[in-house]
């Protein structure tokens, strides 16, 4: 399962990044790393980025990047 599979308001814990994730170095600096909990907030218009809440803030990432982040089911 990846972030892409999460439903609205679902809470999950991050398991890790797929090797091909280009974004992992940036995301971990922002505190989005294996073991961190994350809540899916919403999808945005035009099939755009997904919005999540992590730690104390809201962040949005593109769908194909979300598909590179694995969660514990």
């Amino acid at each position: 399962m990846t972030l892409l599979d999460m439903k609205k308001n679902q809470v999950a814990q991050i398991k890790g990044f797929l090797e091909s994730s280009e974004l992992q170095s940036r995301l971990v600096e922002m505190g989005i790393l294996p073991g961190t909990e994350i809540r899916m907030i919403k999808r945005t218009p035009f099939n755009g980025p997904l919005e999540f809440k992590v730690r104390d803030y809201y962040v949005s990432v593109r769908k194909n990047d979300a598909a590179h982040i694995e969660i514990y089911s």
């Binding site: 600096e29 922002m30 945005t44 218009p45 980025p49 809440k53 104390d56 803030y57």
Partner: protein
């Protein structure tokens, strides 16, 4: 390299941690400001006055999540930090600005800053957003990091500023003691050789060597940073770099053997340490992310999947309609004020060249531009509000998919929106786009966005030639035409972006991570300050460029004088003047677009700045009139009659053609200069000017000739 420098304090913090607000509080807004608003995505220096009347420089840097660089504005910070490590020019104290309502992520950067071996004061900003009862004590945070002090402040509410200043005075005391370093990272044995090498070759402290070592292993960009730094500072020791590269590779190999992912090692170790210090357990974190903030609820409407885009378009439409309706009163006041002023000067002075120059050249030219100040300020005001409320960040997210489709990036939205005010801050704002290809394309199309300098030209032509009537009872026709001009520029910009993205063959790794800051009531003070800066910039421009051009133009339009055929008196005949001759020479090229020699003169002068077109025409008509009464430009344009044919010189078709020309044409030297600087080449600004000029010429040709065939405007 600069060797003499003032002692200084530096501000480092996450994007949106309120760093600049704090900078303004500490310096009392006496910072160096540029002629253009928002031009400093760069370093900013101000004077900080401490409580004991001591003064010291304060350096503001762009926001960053980490001391590794991804985008160009972050590079400014990482280059700066590397320089501090490798030279004597380093801050006395670093203020680590932290958003207290978002502690763990912000303190990550603080833990990196601690490793530099420079005394740190932690400013826990936005304290007004935190619950005082649940706060971690200042003392605990100070000890957690071994900082000089930690202080809760609120730059927006102006609280804690004095306390911060006293801790700064304390931290500045002469003391030999090393920084009391409390950040401890574990499990770094895989990079021990790298750490030892950095310590021996660069004389780093142990902490700095660990930190830089981790960063070198984590990111390739860090190695590039070293390479560039050595190149720039002329002590490039190739063998050191080669050695460094190979040790970094060995460390990575050692980590992979142990099954450690080197790409995330620094963050993993730091957050592990940080979460433990903050007592942030799994349960606590889950509780936090389950909290639904006010902004989250508001976003259910504002960024709703279907309603969101509609609301955005509605807001834009409202802004542009308001520009036309709200500004009409102040514009009338300025208009009659300028006319009265010109009239009284005319009365006061005796006839002669000086009077003509003042009334026709200076007051005529500068006055015609001043009228449009209210419209420009209303536009700048609304743009500042959109940004300050936090709405702009949402627009970036909403538009990302669309922007990607035309070869841009979600973050291109802000530069393009800034472009409505002025292309220069727009081009600067592209620094936040980390992919060079998308950044370059954004730079090339920002000048197509109708900036506020075009507004006077639009407003002049629309006011003169478009009837002020209502369409379907509610929409003003003039406002609609204005909105259409903005739409035309924007839509074309997007099409051009798509074309460029096909032809520019650069590799690009496009990333998108966008933090959504909480909504807030805009700080009126800072919004008004932006408006004030734009007004000041506009008035200095009017005072310098427009004044100079108006004077030169007045001479060129007034001389040589010709002898009146009947009376024998010497008189001004613009067509025979130097300016007139120039315009006449241009006519063969611009006549197919519907432009005559007067507009031709304006096209030449507006290369200095677009709005000069308005002052140029005003000066020409005032010289031609010569009565001393200020000429109303709109009326003069509409009533201008061809002496031979007796027909009106300008039809609505000429106006439309000229409008379209101004939408596309690249008439701005300052934009050329900034594009040259940001792309570091002559190639791209020349390509930009070339494509925009051809676009303008052919679009105007199409409008005028097409309109003639259709029989519009006679």
């Amino acid at each position: 390299m600069k060797t003499d420098f003032n002692r200084f304090i530096a501000l480092i913090g996450n994007p949106n941690s309120g760093k600049t607000a704090l900078f303004n509080q500490l310096t009392g807004m006496h910072q160096k400001v540029s002629n253009y608003p928002g031009v400093t995505v760069d370093r900013k220096i101000g004077k900080l006055k401490l409580n004991n009347n001591q003064h010291i420089d304060l350096l503001d840097l762009p926001g960053t999540y980490s001391l590794t660089a991804e985008s160009f504005d972050e590079q400014v910070v990482t280059e700066q930090v590397l320089h501090w490590l490798h030279s004597d020019e380093k801050p006395e104290v670093i203020i680590s600005v932290v958003d207290a309502s978002n502690l763990s992520r912000n303190l990550y950067l603080t833990s990196q800053v601690m490793d530099l071996g420079i005394p740190v004061v932690i400013a826990l900003n936005m304290s007004d957003r935190t619950d005082e009862a649940k706060r971690i004590a200042e003392e605990d945070i100070k000890n957690m990091f071994g900082a000089e002090a930690a202080v809760y402040v609120s730059a927006s509410q102006k609280t804690g500023i004095d306390a911060l200043k006293s801790t700064l005075s304390f931290a500045l005391r002469p003391h030999s003691a090393n920084v009391n370093h409390a950040v401890k990272l574990s499990n770094i044995s895989s990079i021990t050789p790298l750490i030892q090498w950095l310590q021996s070759e660069f004389a780093y402290t142990e902490e700095a060597a660990i930190a830089q070592g981790l960063r070198l292993v984590t990111r390739n960009s860090t190695f590039k940073l070293y390479k560039n730094y050595f190149k720039k500072n002329n002590n490039a020791l190739d063998y050191k770099l080669t050695k460094l590269e190979s040790i970094v590779q060995q460390s990575r190999d050692a980590m992979e053997k142990k099954g450690i992912s080197y790409k995330i090692i620094e963050a993993t170790l730091r957050y592990h340490w940080l979460d433990k210090q903050l007592g942030s357990t799994e349960n606590a974190r889950v509780d936090k992310i389950k909290e639904s903030s006010f902004s989250e609820k508001l976003d259910k409407v504002l960024t709703h999947q279907y309603m969101g885009p509609i609301i955005f378009v509605g807001i834009l439409y409202f802004i542009f309609q308001t520009i036309f309706t709200f500004s009409s009163y102040p514009m009338e006041w300025i208009d009659s004020g300028v006319a009265a002023f010109g009239h009284s000067i005319h009365q006061m002075m005796s006839p002669g060249i000086l009077r003509d120059l003042l009334v026709e050249g200076v007051i005529g030219g500068v006055g015609a531009i001043l009228i449009f100040l209210p419209q420009i300020l209303i536009l700048v005001f609304f743009l500042a509000i959109l940004e300050d409320t936090g709405y702009m960040a949402r627009v970036v997210v909403m538009m990302d998919k669309f922007m990607t489709k035309v070869g841009l990036h979600g973050r291109s939205v802000l530069p393009l929106m800034s472009g409505f005010a002025c292309a220069i801050p727009g081009v600067m704002a592209t620094r936040t786009i980390d992919s060079w290809k998308e950044r370059l394309i954004t730079i090339l199309i920002v000048p197509l966005i109708s900036c506020s300098a075009r507004l006077p030209v639009y407003a002049m032509l629309i006011g003169a030639f478009i009837p002020s009537e209502k369409v379907s009872g509610i929409f003003g026709l003039q406002g609609l035409v204005l909105v259409f001009m903005y739409f035309l520029g924007t839509a074309t910009a997007l099409v051009i972006a798509k074309i460029f993205s096909r032809f520019i063959t650069l590799k690009s790794h496009s990333n998108f991570v966008m933090e959504l800051p909480p909504y807030r009531v805009p700080l009126l003070r800072s919004t008004l300050y932006q408006v004030y800066q734009r007004a000041r910039g506009f008035l200095t421009d009017a005072g310098k460029i427009i004044l100079a051009i108006s004077i030169v133009l007045w001479f060129l339009a007034s001389f040589p004088k010709v002898q009146h055929q009947e009376t024998g008196e010497m008189m001004t005949k613009i067509e025979a003047s130097y300016a007139g001759q120039l315009g006449k020479k241009m006519e063969p090229f611009i006549a197919p677009l519907g432009f005559d020699w007067k507009i031709g003169i304006g096209l030449v002068t507006s290369f200095a700045a677009r709005e000069v077109m308005v002052s140029t025409l005003s000066t020409i008509y005032n010289v031609e009139d010569g009565s001393g009464e200020m000429v109303n430009l709109s009326r003069a344009l509409v009533n201008d009659t061809n002496e031979q044919t007796g027909k009106k010189t300008y039809s609505i078709l000429t106006a439309l053609s000229l409008l379209v020309f101004y939408v596309f044409a690249a008439q701005c030297m300052a934009t050329f200069a900034i594009v040259k600087k940001e792309t570091n080449s002559w190639k791209w600004p020349l390509i930009m000017t070339g494509y925009m000029t051809s676009l303008a010429y052919f679009a105007s040709l199409l409008v005028f000739q097409g309109g003639k065939i259709l029989g519009i405007g006679g």
